[in-house]
């Protein structure tokens, strides 16, 4: 199995949108590699012909009638947001300010 380098740890942190300190990155490099070592045991098993299990109870898709029902009032939805304006959630610009 693979070994994570410091650069790998930084890349994964970026993918996960986690801002980590130098100290955290160093500690995680050691800990993640130690945990990945434990995964090596799985290589002992030949699973080529084994189907994957994603869920354990054999439920078919359960569909319900497409009938509109009540939903949460707008103020209840917005109450927990960090910044709102006129019924909307305010976020920083995503595509640059375009000045």
């Amino acid at each position: 199995m693979a070994t994570l380098s410091r650069a790998d740890v930084e890349h994964v942190a970026h993918l996960a949108r986690l801002g980590l300190s130098e100290e955290e990155l160093a500690r995680l490099e050691g800990q993640l590699n130690h945990i990945l070592d434990q995964y090596a045991i799985l290589a002992r098993l030949d699973t080529n012909d084994i189907p994957p299990t994603a869920q354990t109870i054999e439920l078919e898709n359960i569909l319900r009638d497409d009938v509109p029902g009540p939903s949460l009032p707008l103020e209840a939805v917005l109450r927990n947001a960090a910044q709102t304006h006129a019924g909307f959630i305010v976020v920083p610009p995503i595509m640059g300010t375009g000045e």
């Binding site: 986690l18 045991i41 799985l42 869920q55």
Partner: protein, 527 residues
Amino acid sequence: MTDLTRLSGHDQAGLLRTGEVSSRELAAAHLDAAERQNRALNAWLSIDRERAIAEAVAADATLAGARRKGAPALDALHPLFGLPVALKDLVSLAGGQCTAGSKILAGYLAPYDARITERLRAVSAVVLGKTNMDEFAMGSSTEHSAYGPTANPWALDRVPGGSSGGSAAAVAAYHAPFSLGTDTGGSIRQPAALCGIVGLKPTYGRVSRYGIVAFASSLDQIGPFGRDVRDAAALLHAVAGRDERDSTSAPEPVPDELLRLPGDDQAATSLRGKRLGLPKEYFVAGMEPGVEARVREAVAALEAAGARVDEVSLPHTEYGLATYYIVAPAEASANLARYDGIRYGPRLGDGDMLTNYLATRGQGFGPEVKRRIMLGTYALSAGYYDAYYLKAQKVRTLIKGDFDTLFGAGFDALVAPTSPSVAFRFGARLADPVSMYLSDACTLPVNMAGLPGLSVPCGLSEGLPVGLQLIGPAWSELELFRIARGYEAITADAEWRGLEPAELALADDPATPTPAERAAGLAAAAH
């Protein structure tokens, strides 16, 4: 006057119906105990006396009406009617906090009730407050809570287990007869074992997860804690069942027999002829001798009562830990992507979107949650999906197959230890994540297979509780509760059953250190 908090839930229910106590008196007695002892135990993250008393007063009014109407109206009340319940702080209760033990949900107020909260309201149970937990239910000790650890009432310098440690400690400490937790890899059964109470992880799909903070969606299940088997069964009955808002909740009937578990005589004789399997792989290397001894004594008692016990094999058990620690973090990394500081929770950073994400998530999540998000993100990332996640899903098939083989061969249940150790000291497993993960070696294969698992107390080792785990086929909760009721009956006179948690009385002393102070003291002594 007897201390009402010492009564079982079903005894409290009896007194309510005869009019000897009111729901308000029960709520007040439990609230008093919880408020008095929470400094020393930190089992509760919030206690809402005002709301609880209002709910209890309303229940008393309903009860008075039922009494006027006569016996059928009283009989129609659910056994949980008017009784105190604690909720793990990841269950939504409209208008209340729901931190999931994390700073990233500090200040968040749930906009709606979870399905199980609705169910509790429907039977007029009284919610006292919300209990402490490992952050996002990731942990086996409740030390990963952002709000400080919880103490075990049996030994205040030890953990209650986790992640539902607050719910287990609150019931063990008589702050409530009932509580609810969640179990993704052992988070109900292991704290139940370490606190000396009963805890059930139901079959995947048994209880709707609508309104519950998600951790690993193919594994998470909600379940009850109680101090005896009957109480845990009654709470499962109250909250179980299909809910169209959770498409993974199954349309399986919830048997009313859960409310009519047999009395001692009948329960003891019902063990005759039960076929129980003793999986040899669950007596793992590193298991404490005292734990193994108590479990083997329990098995001998079941045999003496007429159960047929055979040693069996679950050959893929050794792969459970690795499989779980791929599947659960992978699913967690996806579920926890929603905590972005946009729609709820504190928003940190003062820059562009990416800067804010990095700051909000980097500072909002604690170390264990970050570790798991990192693991899961890596396991799902380009080039590694087949090697990790897909491989783990395939091994999961083999683990589930082990159980299917035994239940297909006619075993009613498997009997095993719940946890390889008794409650450990604060800090003992924090430095090495893998040592913490091993706490769940006997419970997580059951989640991988989606099966029900029940932990019941089976005595003490070095003065600390030991749990016996019963594992059954899908939807066999009633059968597990019946076997457990039988075990309770044949050990009704055991000396350990009459004991209170050894250090609970210390929690009354305002000079007793808080769990965080104890943990800091132990950490300082270790250096």
